[in-house]
């Protein structure tokens, strides 16, 4: 059944591209100003020119001071896949701010070799670590359901990624959870947190779960027992623990490329042996065989794939120009994931036909048109004047 994207995600009917980066107004929750510049670019500009990072640094010291423990308990939870960003956060907190972090990883849906190597290297560089691994049969079932119903196989991972650190905080009596960057603010979304170091747990449903928390799948025949590992702790337990979620990107100028250099030097991080499908980079988001489908479905839904996200933030960070970004989008954004395609079908127990049916059900007429049997973007950034 054809989905109504405009209504589901509250999208503008006419596609417009940001004048500065490669993002279009089809990214959910992003806003554009009167000059046609997106909120992420404006925030980046603001971040570079208007923030006194010395003051923020002092705020970080105060925060660490407040949470630091002397009784041997962990004092900060760092959600970390072993990638360059989480590893940077954990390593900085431990070795530059004298904190005692517990690194926690929610298991990838289907781990890659390079991802696992990087995680092992990170742990070996000196960290206590806990891996949350839900029953893989349930993960597969939820992946199948979320792919079919939400057009994104990644939702079960996102549940755990969001909720597991909360569990660990409550369980280990840790009040501080430190993430890397606030994606909503850095990459375009709800800007209400742009000037705050924290995020509200109440926003998890709308920002991360497309309005559908784990409990939603009960009506699709998943039992409470199976869903339990994916669910958040009881809200009153989170509050009673005085849990705070902070972003290091508020306290320090966030630069993913510099994190790569830092982690190559300090946590044994290595880039992949080839670029990721759907983009040109080989150092970001390497740990899950399924994530190519997450990005590809974003390309289908919003006309923006993995290259668009990568180029947009690299343009803002001054790593590439907009022209380069546009050339890269033209070259790689449309690339469908093939490397792990069979594994994906097996993992989700679905057929080729089902995959294509799902994909086509998320193709909105305001994004796509069919020409001689081929799907074509109605508005492509390289044709945009």
């Amino acid at each position: 059944m054809k989905k109504n994207l405009i209504r589901l995600y509250n999208l503008p009917e006419k596609v417009k591209f940001c004048k500065k980066c490669t993002i279009s107004n089809q990214r959910p929750r992003i806003t554009f100003d009167a000059n046609g510049v997106c909120s992420a670019c404006n925030y980046n500009e603001f971040k570079r020119n208007n923030i006194d990072w010395k003051i923020r640094e002092a705020e970080l010291h105060t925060l660490c001071e407040k949470h630091r423990k002397v009784n041997g308990e962990y004092d900060v939870i760092v959600p970390c896949s072993g990638g360059k960003d989480g590893s940077f956060v954990a390593h900085q907190l431990k070795y530059h701010y004298g904190m005692n972090p517990l690194a926690v990883t929610w298991a990838p849906l289907k781990a890659t070799k390079i991802g696992r190597q990087n995680l092992d290297a990170f742990i070996a560089s000196g960290f206590s670590h806990i891996m949350g691994t839900p029953n893989p049969l349930v993960t597969r079932k939820l992946t199948n359901l979320s792919f079919k119903h939400l057009g994104d196989p990644f939702q079960p991972f996102i549940y755990g990624q969001t909720n597991f650190p909360l569990h660990m905080a409550v369980k280990h009596n840790v009040q501080l959870i430190m993430y890397g960057e606030n994606g909503e603010v850095e990459y375009g979304g709800d800007m209400k947190n742009a000037l705050r170091p924290t995020r509200d747990i109440q926003d998890h449903d709308s920002h991360y779960f497309s309005g559908l928390p784990p409990e939603f799948w009960i009506e699709h025949g998943v039992s409470m027992i199976d869903l339990y590992p994916f669910m958040a702790p009881k809200f009153e337990d989170i509050v009673k623990n005085r849990t705070e979620i902070h972003f290091l990107g508020y306290y320090k100028m966030w630069d993913p490329q510099e994190n790569y250099y830092y982690c190559h030097e300090n946590t044994g991080f290595n880039a992949n042996i080839e670029r990721s499908e759907g983009t040109y980079s080989k150092y970001a988001s390497l740990d899950d065989e399924i994530d190519g489908f997450h990005y590809y479905l974003a390309y289908i839904k919003f006309g923006m794939g993995r290259t668009t996200s990568d180029t947009a933030h690299e343009i803002r960070d001054g790593k590439i120009t907009r022209d380069e970004g546009v050339a890269l989008v033209k070259r790689y954004d449309h690339e469908a994931p093939k490397r792990y395609y069979r594994e994906f079908l097996d993992f989700c127990s679905i057929t080729d036909e089902e995959v294509n049916e799902v994909i086509d059900s998320w193709r909105s007429d305001h994004i796509w048109l069919q020409e001689n049997g081929e799907w074509k973007l109605r508005f492509a950034i390289w044709e945009d004047q």
């Binding site: 490329q257 790569y260 042996i273 080839e274 080989k282 790593k319 380069e324 890269l328 070259r331």
Partner: protein
């Protein structure tokens, strides 16, 4: 005894000199001309310019950078990145380059090696190979600045390249590039053992001693250096002294 050539390698993106690790995370270092001039004044024997994203973006922008450099730099310059026709090569040579380096386009069209060699001579046609270790003593050829695999075996590709007319091999180890862990000596050895044209070892120079090792044990005829120079970890003068003290032949330079 042959002289070992000390080559400064400048990877360029847009208007900037850049540097990555494993050819990824390209960090802006500064102005290509300022660095090139500094290396020339320190006594570099040659310069290599690579437009590292030319194939990625389908362009080559080095003409301007090269003609500016040619005004005050008087050592041989090799230029690569996005060269996919004899016309491209002509243009680059007219801007002041002495040799062209070809990787991606040579893989998709090996005939280009012969065409360039026939037009300008083999000494002008440098085959650039991005090599990635894939098994014990086995390396795969990569293209597009270490992003795409080709399935080609490095040793047989180099052999074929030389038969087609390549007069020199620029051999970049993707595994070592930017890591400061030393050259992939086994790679250089495997390649230098099977060809009779000069081999330039590139990628991984962390310390001047690494040069001695890759020449003595790998049989390199020249070394390309980037990170060690860009981050001022050693000057070409210091590197030259290390080579000389180890008994290697280097150009006399005051």
């Amino acid at each position: 005894m042959r002289n070992i050539r000390l080559i400064a390698r400048l990877d360029i993106k847009g208007l900037n000199l850049i540097k990555g690790i494993n050819l990824e995370g390209l960090r802006v270092i500064g102005s290509p001309n300022e660095h090139a001039l500094r290396y020339y004044q320190q006594g570099a024997d040659e310069l290599i310019y690579i437009d590292s994203v030319a194939s990625l973006y389908g362009r080559n922008h080095l003409g301007g950078v090269i003609s500016a450099a040619a005004k005050n730099i008087f050592v041989p310059m090799t230029v690569g990145g996005g060269i996919c026709s004899v016309d491209n090569a002509t243009e680059i040579l007219r801007s002041g380059a002495d040799k062209v380096a070809v990787n991606t386009a040579a893989v998709s069209n090996p005939r280009l090696i012969t065409d360039i060699a026939e037009c300008f001579g083999s000494q002008c046609m440098v085959l650039h190979v991005e090599a990635k270790l894939v098994g014990p003593d086995r390396w795969e050829v990569y293209t597009n600045n270490g992003r795409e695999r080709t399935g080609l075996d490095v040793v047989s590709w180099v052999k074929q390249g030389v038969e087609l007319g390549a007069g020199e091999i620029l051999l970049t180890s993707v595994d070592r590039e930017g890591t400061r862990k030393g050259f992939d000596v086994a790679l250089v050895k495997a390649v230098s053992a099977i060809v009779n044209v000069p081999v330039i070892a590139s990628g991984g120079m962390g310390h001047p001693d690494d040069l001695v090792e890759v020449v003595n044990e790998g049989g390199a005829d020249a070394v390309a250096m980037a990170d060690i120079l860009h981050y001022n970890r050693a000057s070409i003068g210091e590197i030259r002294s290390t080579a000389k003290n180890a008994g290697l032949g280097v150009r006399y330079y005051e």
